[in-house]
């Protein structure tokens, strides 16, 4: 697995049910070793975002419930805790939508949780994201998509996280911006030793900075392994990384082409 040391985040057999009828997550087990970047990839509806939300207590409606499983962070169970309690323990989520306060300025967003102890981290945010430094007085709602994502990550950093959960940061971003932010995340991880759990649809980008990866499908983990191995794996390449072993599409469609008597 990822190491002999006890994992920082240990999710076992998690089960999340929507409206008492639809099971979004069926028995997922995920581990995040301290100081490592773990990627969760999969298509839409695989249960990635739901898992992140379950871990961070960010389940908005009372109709979504964690019905089974263990969520343990540094030995402490997170189930049943309120979002602000989980956040204070050090599990900080950068959500997919609604990731910052649009009506506040950039500076106010970053100062949202500022204490004297956190001032150095807050200043460090501008080193990681120099573009934000120029826009401190600007209303956050008017930033570009990439800048918003940077600000969201910056806000999360000011909360002194021990584990950063990033939900689909590449959504709506140009590929070059995505890779820029991913690189910055990697350097944050190296400098601060901050563990991260990244949920991504852009499997290639995520696996490039992660050390370990889980592939989710229909609410289950169908594949896991070290990131380099995932990048090399044939099935992974075909299904998620856009590389097909067949030469032309005609051969791929063998699986789905309707059988006709002439071949």
């Amino acid at each position: 697995m990822t190491g002999v040391a006890a994992p920082l985040l240990d999710v076992r057999q998690l089960e999340v049910v929507y409206h008492d009828v639809a099971t979004a997550v069926q028995g997922i087990s995920i581990e995040v070793a301290p100081g490592s970047i773990v990627a969760m990839i999969g298509t839409n509806g695989a249960g990635k975002t739901t898992t992140l939300r379950a871990v961070s207590g960010f389940l908005p409606a009372e109709d979504v419930a964690v019905t089974d499983g263990v969520i343990s962070f540094g030995g402490q169970s997170l189930r049943g805790l309120l979002p602000h309690q989980i956040s204070r323990l050090g599990v900080v989520l950068v959500p997919e939508r609604e990731k910052l306060f649009q009506t506040l300025t950039v500076a106010e967003n970053l100062d949202f949780n500022l204490t004297r102890k956190r001032q150095p981290i807050r200043d460090a945010v501008f080193e990681y994201f120099p573009r934000l430094a120029e826009r401190q007085k600007q209303i956050a709602g008017y930033l570009s998509g990439g800048e918003k994502q940077m600000l969201a990550i910056g806000m999360a950093l000011v909360c002194e996280p021990r584990l950063l959960l990033v939900d689909e940061l590449s959504l709506g971003l140009a590929p070059i911006v995505t890779s820029e932010i991913m690189t910055i995340l990697q350097s944050i991880n190296r400098n601060l030793g901050l563990a991260m759990l990244i949920v991504e649809q852009n499997a290639a980008a995520a696996l490039r900075i992660a050390s370990f990866g889980y592939v989710l499908e229909n609410g289950r983990v169908v594949f896991k392994g070290e990131a380099e191995k995932l990048l090399m794996h044939q099935d992974m390449r075909e299904f998620y990384l856009g590389d097909s072993k067949a030469g032309s599409y005609r051969n791929i469609r063998q699986y789905t082409r309707k059988r006709r008597w002439w071949g």
């Binding site: 960010f58 979002p83 900080v92 609604e98 949202f112």
Partner: protein
Amino acid sequence: MELSVSILALGSTYALLAAGIVVIYKASRVVNFAHGELAIVGAYVFHSAGFLTGTSLTGLSLVATIAIAAAGSALFGILVYFALMRRLLGRPTFVAAMVTIGLAIILKAAIVVFFKSRSVGIPIGRQPLYNFAGGGRITWIELISILVCIATFAALAVFFQYTRLGRQFRGAAENPLLAAQRQVNINLILALAWSLAVFSAALAGVLFGSRSMLSPQSTIIGLSGLTAALVGGLDSLRGAAVGGLLVAAATYLTARLISPTLAETVPFLILLVVMSWRPWGLFGTVEELNRV
């Protein structure tokens, strides 16, 4: 001159009421229909507290009365939040608004029960302070009303703009889930909002009761406060101040120049005009309309 003083004094009462409504609306998108009742209950409690500390209401007994009423109203706001409004989180906001209507009914009945529907007045500062050249005068209480209003608005503005808690308040108002994830306890924010609102309502009620007689029917000032808040914009404190002045001016001038009975309907007429012409108020954010 006396005219403008009276308008300013009345306007400060309405502005304080509107401020309370705006604070709750900013924090939770709930329109508090019980604000007038809260104000009058606060005034009655103040009056009764005055009896407890000695009937003179000057000096030390006045300070004690103010302390009791202030603490009591703040605590009552917290109580209202935790007992009632907290359970409505996640439900559509008009449900919460209807609960406040229910609360208004209960409070009005409580006034009748506990204070026996007497008309009472709060005898503070009725003495004239200064006589103007034109023959008008300003009383202590009118000056106090205006000063208290200005002080309250200044304090609220500073709080929201420059303090960390105020920032968290504004953030939580916009996006409660994200604020919770950023280590803000939403319950505390909302309880604080309700506490501030009930406190300012009681303040407005006391100032009102010092200038006019209190009775269970006085709760109608809640409608003027709501109108003032709507005129200014339900999510704008600046608007609350301006709205309060406008409604007070319209009401007072109508009563003086046209007829007192028409003056009772002035808030509603203003409501009609505002709703038809500019429903989000003078300073409110336009998108509020589509949020509800």
